[in-house]
Symmetry: C3
Subunit: 201 residues, 3 copies
Amino acid sequence: MLYALDLVGVTVFAASGALAAMAANLDLLGILVLAAVTAIGGGTIRDLLLGRHPVFWIQDPSPLFVIVGAAFVTVACAQLLPVPRQALLIADALGLALFAVTGAQVAEDKGCSPLVVILMGTLTGSGGGVVRDVLTAQIPLLLRAEIYATAAIAGIVIYLMLRVVRVPSPIAMILGFVVVATTRLAAVAFDLRLPVLGLPE
Amino acid sequence: MLYALDLVGVTVFAASGALAAMAANLDLLGILVLAAVTAIGGGTIRDLLLGRHPVFWIQDPSPLFVIVGAAFVTVACAQLLPVPRQALLIADALGLALFAVTGAQVAEDKGCSPLVVILMGTLTGSGGGVVRDVLTAQIPLLLRAEIYATAAIAGIVIYLMLRVVRVPSPIAMILGFVVVATTRLAAVAFDLRLPVLGLPE
Amino acid sequence: MLYALDLVGVTVFAASGALAAMAANLDLLGILVLAAVTAIGGGTIRDLLLGRHPVFWIQDPSPLFVIVGAAFVTVACAQLLPVPRQALLIADALGLALFAVTGAQVAEDKGCSPLVVILMGTLTGSGGGVVRDVLTAQIPLLLRAEIYATAAIAGIVIYLMLRVVRVPSPIAMILGFVVVATTRLAAVAFDLRLPVLGLPE
């Protein structure tokens, strides 16, 4: 199940990378490359930090085929249909939710303490989007968007709480995913935001 | 002692990350995330390059608690007191100095050659600040600021020279730290700079 | 031979980093640091992803000496002679070509599947340039330039096809290098571009 969630996460992040690449007017192979690094970014960060060699997409290249397919489908759709203004935010929100819980599960499975699970899940979920945004010279959604890190952390906390009361991992992951995705999509839809604690001048 | 210096470095870099996050008007969890990646950035780069698994903050999550505490203290202080314009530069200078010498000591301890020790210490010391600056879409202080890499390299060279004449590692680290911190703080205070060798047109 | 190609790649990428640093008006040690991270960037990414510890420049510091030398020669030349406007693009193209084929060969040698070899070679070849561009707050050439990823992928595909028909690895690498370098230099010289598939509005 972890594997299936990872593949769906790769798919939606590849779509978000392809959308960002088209918005930046990249050529076809630039679209493929940006889709690929966005999709593998989070899982690669997770594997590097936990010392898992070789990284997941070298061990099993299936995600790469999924990425190429997802990028082509996204590009084709964009040529044939009008693309909603928020398509990238929606794809990114789903990818964030998927990778946040799978990243958290991997860290939890390794016996990491709760604070590490939260940080690892947040890094895995947001890593791909950060790579995509930095490569297109934008401030990452992770830091710019309303209720982004908050959504990831909320879902991972729910996941951990459910695991404490012995809820089986697959169910806890699905519920955590729902929390992250709902929170983030609600923030996108209703423009929610937390108070900003800026410097007083 | 290496451990204590690492924790102090984590503290000051977390403070610099929190200050940068507030200057960029991020919400509370964005502040926490930026503080965290700034604080763990240098040591994580060091551990990845040297193949130390798992990275230090997964092995022992104490730094994460320190980060959360430092971020909260920084945010609270910023609400209650005027923040000096140079607070971030000072926090970053102290973190640079601390991690430059601890990163150099780790590389030296592994038997690396002097040029590798210098580069490893510079990467460890400046890595967190680079992550912080790239995520907030700024040219990294490492490359923009006057006498930044120079300060790090000067301190590491002093550390290596002291070690050659058998000065014990803790004393050499403290003296190296003093050289990096003093050089960088002097550059901040007196706006020192090296000649620039730009392209002639 | 792989070692020689790697050293030449390190040389030209160090030159491109030094040129970018001078264009950004960095001081002498900033030039050295940017030259270093550009030159080691691609190979470091390759080693981290494949789990090779310690990374190549820690194992054998010869590349670091080459980097310092190349940076000094580049800076000296720039003071004495007019620097062609396209010097950075040419140095980057040669480095891309060299590291794309050496990165592909390392992945092929490890038994990776073709799609992984293509992605690994592209990441190794473009990684240094991406680090250089991100640190100087520019959209990476990888994504901005005409026929950049395309050139790398074309050369790696040629390399793989030659290997399928049992052409010895050194010959296949040289031919792959020629394809990448010629494609990219032609794109620089004649301003070639692929069609852009932007979003329709």
